[in-house]
Subunit: 491 residues, 2 copies
């Protein structure tokens, strides 16, 4: 067997074990009995230790030195293995196991603290997680490197905090201006104010998942506290949640997760259980979930179709017509919760988190001072005070899971989605006519062919550039938001 | 760190990984999307390969040689590690991985073949599994040893096929005689002939699970094709199934699985994620599920309580009174399905499977001849011809999962349950008064203290002997069946 083949065979088993670890995480949020958390912590630590040992196996170094990959696919496999090996050999097994154990236990603590509005219960756990991730970031960055940059590299290869900050600086003025004009105009927008039964919401969201191309023979939908997508290849699961008075919560988080899940399902089957058998990065992933949710799902054309489906499922629900429904689905309003934010303000939520977590990892902000810093920044950016931890510092699952460097990829995804949407409109001139009929196959087919099927074959920036025919930038997103919300609010 | 402590730390991680593999199996039957099977096969093979490598790690041999265990608990841990190490070092990693992959894929094939009544679709898969298990049994047994005995050792340490055959020979005449007298008497017994809505069945079975002491903070109940219990320690899950016209199917399979699950939940917390942190053997396990289901759950006292609960949940359902209900719950009738068999005939179903699988592993019966052999034996033992594979050779999941040597432990469990029931009655003279009120805490508490909490601390025969105060034998089970069914049928 050649060195390349031996390396790929070894890697295939590692990928399979990685899928198992991912499925355990799914189980933890969608199925696990509450009292199992301590045991699960040990289980996660054990599989993470196995994965860490495999990912740092010195034979990988030998195989890499000898491998002679032929063709672009083999070269991409080697590129990904090289990146992972370089990364993982820098993190001690002890530290990897501690992070796994701590974040597994933290999930239950976070969920209970959020329910009880009890920041103090979560603070020591988060302090330990931040310390562990800082230690990891420092180990990854090496002497003279930046710990937060090193953490970002996991989610968005080739991107630094400084580059992200520069992009955010480019986006921010346009968003702030648009937001202020909209909220200043004080245009009355209809709000759904009705009861929507849970079974109907789950039925409709499952229907929409299939409309957007989700393959339930290779996936499933469950309820969980936080919606997410999990797994690659032949087993890609999503979760959703319901709010009896706000069906948009369930519907749009489902469409969002379907964007992630169909991306994983669309990757070339030849890449199954290989290092490129998954999405290219978190930012590219988010571009898919965002374009499904927003540019497609909240378009005037598609909301016309959705209005009819909702009327069929729930009966009349207090919204006069499709135009009013479109306005309701795109209401820009003051709110605390990132996942419920509109397209105009969403990226401001991200910028807040980016700055705070960057400061936490740099050591410029102590965990004990985090709620104060959050609340001060939120009041400044959004003009309203945070009243409860669940509106603020306890609202997101990410930090309890140890995800630092992940939040900025949401806004990178929005930027990429803006670029892809521009290219998609150029490729499908009659897109609105299709969306109005609930036919998503044209749009999702274009995304599958232009981007999704490639998985990790290309680096993030390259796969976006290939799909769009030009380098990504903030321009298309800002232009789209100005055009859509300028017209909606007459500003 | 001492050799003993190092060994236990290593073992703890292996146990955690074993729990993960078990949870994957649960997932496969209770949650996995159907199309994921090929990928799951690779995942199971990967984790089995990891487990096999750990269980055969030469360091275990070194640690065992140096370990100086202090006290009976440490000695039992060493005993179990020694047994597992000796077993696993005899099986090549390649063979262990092949068995994992083949049985994972086989499950879907079996389920589809059963639904389609298509033996031919399953035959080549089963042939490969039998060949793999024969190879494994031969490797375990070594020169001059018996392959089937070696497979039994996994489920019931210290028991041979010859010993089981002798026990079965002791049981068989009494069972055959009782069965013939009952069926010959042609006593009319009421049958449930009514619709029972699924939601009510699931609600009632969940209630009964808690009545029998199942802790849902450390467990959950899902629907699956085949009821089973899975996991140890803090995460012990069960599955159940429903039949719209036969609520006993759901109710008694739930109580049965609760017997298994509470055993796992009751093991001393100090034993968590150690080699003795689980039931002592499959036979001892089955003694718990059987005594819960039959000696307790189908007693006249408890069925009186159950009759009232069923009337409350389903309304009047065509059974006149508690006495008639007791008779319906203990109806002895001709039937094809092992899991639906009554206490009198159940062990005859096991004896059939024991003889056939013993012949398969010995090479005295070819897989191609299995349906014929099954049908011939069934007609002889039960007096009716098998008409469809789902009534016969395709009815059980076990062989598709590679479980050879497992079936006889069901009857060992019945024998042990007979012994434990005799001791329980002696210890709790007012047991019937408790059962009539739906108070199971006395009985389950006695079982927990006398047996369940010990987990794998003692060998199977020893833990039964300690709980009962005497060596196990077939006498108590035969006496119990004669007394109960003799009275019920006047024979």
């Amino acid at each position: 067997m050649s060195a390349f083949d031996a390396l790929m065979a070894f890697q295939r088993e590692t990928e399979a074990l990685g899928q198992i670890a991912g499925r355990l995480s799914w189980d933890q949020e969608a199925a696990m009995p509450k009292g199992a958390a301590p045991q699960r912590g040990e289980e996660m630590a054990a599989i993470e230790a196995v994965l860490h040992a495999r990912r740092t196996d010195p034979r990988i170094g030998d195989w890499l030195a000898e491998a002679r990959p032929e063709g672009p696919v083999a070269a991409a496999q080697i590129r990904e293995i090289q990146r992972s090996y370089a990364r993982n050999t820098k993190v001690p097994a002890r530290l990897a196991a501690e992070i796994a154990r701590e974040t597994s236990l933290a999930h239950g603590v976070w969920a209970e603290a959020r329910a009880a509005e009890d920041w103090a219960a979560f603070e020591p756990v988060l302090a330990r997680i931040v310390a562990l991730r800082r230690e990891e970031g420092a180990a990854l960055a090496g002497a003279g490197g930046d710990a937060y940059d090193a953490l970002i590299e996991d989610y968005e290869p080739g991107t630094s905090a400084a580059e992200i900050a520069a992009l955010f600086d480019e986006l921010r003025p346009g968003l702030v201006s648009l937001r202020e004009r909209i909220l200043g105009a004080e245009v009355a927008v209809p709000v759904l104010d009705h009861g929507f039964d849970e079974a109907g919401q789950l039925r409709l969201s499952a229907e929409l998942a299939e409309v957007f191309g989700y393959d339930l023979a290779h996936g499933r939908i469950d309820k969980a506290v936080h919606p997410f997508s999990s797994g690659s290849g032949l087993d890609v699961r999503i979760t959703t949640r319901t709010d009896p008075r706000d069906p948009f919560n369930c519907i749009y988080s489902t469409i969002h997760e379907v964007g992630h899940a169909t991306y994983e399902q669309a990757v070339e089957r030849d890449f199954l259980l290989t290092p490129i058998g998954r999405g290219a990065s978190m930012g590219v992933h988010e571009s898919q979930s965002r374009i499904y949710e927003n540019q497609l799902g909240r378009s005037e054309a598609f909301t016309g179709f959705l209005f009819n489906r909702m009327t069929a499922v729930f009966g009349e629900f207090g919204i006069a017509d499709a135009r009013e429904f479109y306005r309701a689905a795109n209401r820009v309003h003051r709110g605390y919760i990132r996942t419920e934010a509109d397209e105009v303000q969403y990226n401001l939520h991200i910028m807040l988190r980016f700055d705070l977590e960057r400061a936490l990892i740099a050591g410029d902000l102590a965990v004990a001072d985090l709620p104060g810093a959050w609340n001060e920044r939120f009041a400044r950016d959004f003009g309203v005070p945070v009243e409860r931890p669940s509106q603020g510092v306890l609202q997101d699952v990410h930090w309890s899971a140890g995800l630092f460097g992940y939040f900025p990829t949401y806004t990178l995804g929005n930027v990429y989605a803006g670029c892809l949407h521009e290219a998609l409109r150029a490729a499908l001139p009659d897109l609105d006519a299709q969306l109005a009929e609930g036919h998503l196959a044209g749009a999702t087919g274009w995304l599958r062919d232009a981007l999704q099927r490639h998985g990790g074959l290309y680096l993030p920036r390259e796969v976006i550039t290939r799909a769009c025919g030009r380098e990504p930038g903030a321009g298309p997103l800002l232009a789209y938001l100005e055009a859509k919300f300028g017209a909606l609010y007459g500003v």
